[in-house]
């Protein structure tokens, strides 16, 4: 009802102003008219808090270590994490000394290798993993001496060689899932000509010896037909095991088995099917 009356007034006013060509004055009046009818909304306390937080974020001044505060061309300071790229990678302290993974990088040229090892340490730092390294591995030199000519003249030879450089990074006191994340990051940003290998270590609880005693006796399966068949049944996914059962059922082999043994074989085979 209110808006309808407002509109009507507005239309009248507009037609008047169009005649008089004094639009600015009329618009001010119109605004005043509009404000009369509408309430000013009140902001609840939670939203006000949030807006204050946003203001605080706008006032945030990143810390810089160098004297040059503003990045040339961008009127913004260099963020501290970007600036850290100019320094040696930060490392978390090794607390418990539980070795969880060893990441080995190998390449024929050391330049890319140094870079990727540095990158890996930074990844470990930002994921919160205590890492040590990079430990340089012994340079592996392979040499080939070949005869120069395609046929005879074996006195003239040529030497070729290839050096393999390596860097090792150790990850300590970490969760396997976080190590997986780190490895996938490294794989995503892997570099040309640099190979990566990871040895992961798992710690077993105490009492492993007792658990191992419970494992099935391997010696038994070669002295007893039923345990052999059990083994074949357990490994029924393997194509070789399937083929063995198939061969034993074949008349060529079945003729050498006693009826009881054959029955045993067929029973096991039907179970696996």
């Amino acid at each position: 009802m209110l808006t309808a009356s407002c509109l009507r007034t507005a239309r009248r006013q507009f037609s008047l102003s169009a005649r008089k060509l004094n639009i600015n004055k009329q618009l001010d009046e119109l605004a005043a008219l509009k404000l009369q009818g509408s309430k000013v909304p009140t902001v609840d306390s939670v939203k006000a808090e949030k807006s204050r937080l946003v203001d605080a974020f706008g006032q945030y001044e990143p810390q810089v270590l160098t004297t040059e505060e503003v990045l040339p061309g961008s009127s913004r300071p260099l963020p501290i994490n970007a600036e850290l790229n100019y320094y040696a990678p930060l490392k978390h302290e090794v607390k418990h000394g539980h070795l969880k993974a060893e990441i080995v990088f190998k390449a024929f040229e050391p330049a890319n290798l140094e870079f990727i090892a540095d990158f890996a340490l930074r990844v470990a730092y930002y994921l919160g993993l205590p890492a040590t390294g990079p430990l340089p591995l012994r340079k592996r030199t392979e040499r080939w001496t070949v005869i120069k000519s395609p046929f005879v003249h074996a006195k003239t030879k040529e030497n070729f060689e290839r050096h393999t450089h390596g860097r090792k990074i150790k990850i300590w006191d970490a969760d396997n899932e976080v190590i997986d994340i780190m490895l996938s990051v490294l794989q995503k940003h892997s570099m040309w000509g640099v190979g990566m290998k990871c040895n992961m270590y798992v710690q077993e609880p105490l009492g492993m010896g007792k658990a191992m005693q419970k494992l099935s006796d391997n010696a038994k399966q070669v002295s007893d037909l039923s345990s052999t068949l059990d083994t074949l049944h357990e490994e029924s996914d393997s194509p070789v095991a399937q083929k063995v059962v198939e061969l034993l059922k074949d008349p060529l082999f079945a003729q050498h088995l006693t009826s009881e043994q054959l029955e045993q074989v067929q029973q096991k085979a039907s179970n696996s099917d």
Binding site: W144, V146, E158, V222, T228, L247, L248, L252, F253
Partner: protein, 126 residues
């Protein structure tokens, strides 16, 4: 004589190998084809050979079954055995002086290494 040969050829096309195989990529000659045939056959018969060996060497099975498996194993043609295959140069097909990591013969290795085809391999200077 030639007439007879013609009749034989018409009735039964000559086959290079006892079983059909695919042709390898890369350098081709008779010896490469023959070696490739053996490789494919060895791969095809791998499961059978392993199963027969399992039976022949399993002391739990009756002696007659084991001997039968051994007989079957011996009766398999030679081309099913992995020890029949030999490393051949992928560039020139020769079987002599193959440099294992690169699968090429010494002369091809020299040419390719000088052209920088193998990452990291350079002239040895020490």
């Amino acid at each position: 004589m030639s007439e007879v040969l013609k009749i034989v050829k018409a009735s039964k096309p000559m086959k290079r190998f006892p079983q059909p195989v695919s042709i390898p990529t890369g350098f081709l000659n008779t010896r490469v084809l023959r070696d490739n045939f053996k490789r494919q056959m060895a791969a095809q018969y791998e499961v059978t050979t392993k199963a027969l060996k399992f039976i022949a060497r399993n002391a739990a099975l009756p002696q007659k079954v084991r001997i039968e498996a051994q007989v079957q194993l011996t009766a398999l043609p030679n081309f099913t055995r992995m020890n029949q295959v030999r490393d051949r140069c992928v560039e020139s097909g020769t079987s002599k002086k193959i440099i294992k990591p690169f699968r090429v013969s010494r002369y091809q290795f020299r040419l390719m290494a000088r052209d920088g085809e193998f990452p990291g391999v350079k002239k040895g200077v020490w």
